[in-house]
Symmetry: D2
């Protein structure tokens, strides 16, 4: 990549953390609000997974949408829209030899979906 | 639906046209910008299709992303992001017995993706 | 507009309704999720208003975000994100001499934001 | 913040970089696609600025949209939609005493908008 020189002020670890943050922020706003229900969530999981995996520096992605929550929030209309707390995503970014795994998951104690770095 | 009384000023055809417009405007902003390439576009097509089909009044959906354009725009990064002119979508809305098919497709003569009603 | 011939199957009223639906669906997905609080909602109202007004066929726009709801949902973080039920938007589309006003507003009885045509 | 314990595996600098990445990824997908022209871009700049500034850890934001590019891309319709290369954003995140400034700007040599850390 030609862009390496723009990152000479970061260690590989710092850059992997930065790319993880960008990808998490992006996917959150890209997919939140999508209509989903218990029959369609598997195809949405797959589409999110494949689209994240295309991005530079990303080498592994796990996407799990919470079927219980999707079912429970699907009221009389038979569907709901994707919300942050339904999301579990792990994505691994790699810069040179350094790998970092970034995660978004609903944290009960905080009552919101938290993005963080896993060790 | 309890909402019927809010539409007493529209014919079934007018309401089917209105719902078609809403769904087209929504899906456009929901999915434009998603990373996509020649290997992932099928899963994205499926996810868009299934998510639109959940919405009230919609009884049929066809989604075709343009693989040639996706391939051509996937530069050195190996992927591109979904743009309006890559989209072909037909969706059919039904209000009581009246069905209307709304379409978005790239129109060469206009050089932009046009949303319109098919007969 | 060169696109007129693609709408020869619609009356002016039907096309004004269609354009109203598209604009409502678009703005909903464009702006939902934006961070907002009691100090910033006026600038967000203005930006939404000005951006909708640019679109073809739209001649008038009113945007009111609900300050009570914004205040009430702004928890310990001091802000919230824009939700459908905080939105009141009226937009008027005009095709030739025919004007239609489309509205989104929270309807208590339905407990969701409803898009409809005002008379 | 109660969430501090979830970040015990990061230095203050790393966490400031992570939050900067999240905010950049978020705003990109939130605002790209918004209709804009030479008369409205100032109100959009202000709305983006105020909305970013609400987010935790962010202490300073500069948003400049490129008026020349907006003018040039506003064709016969009199407006365009916001694209990545029209964006210049600097945002400063602070974790304890450590401040980091993250930036997105169009880089001519790469021909795309690059997100990076400024020193």
């Amino acid at each position: 990549m030609n862009e390496n020189k723009y990152f000479s002020n970061l260690t590989d670890r710092e850059r992997a953390i930065f790319e993880g943050g960008i990808s998490m922020g992006s996917l959150f706003h890209q997919f939140i609000g999508t209509p989903v229900n218990i029959d369609s969530y598997k195809s949405l999981e797959k589409a999110i997974e494949e689209s994240i995996l295309l991005q530079p520096a990303i080498i592994k992605v796990v996407v799990k949408l919470n079927p219980d929550l999707i079912k429970q929030q699907s009221g009389s209309m038979g569907y709901t829209t994707l919300e942050g707390k339904m999301l579990y995503v792990e994505l691994t970014t790699k810069i040179n030899d350094y790998e970092v795994t970034t995660c978004i998951s609903y944290v009960e104690e905080l009552d919101y979906p938290l993005m963080r770095i896993l060790d």
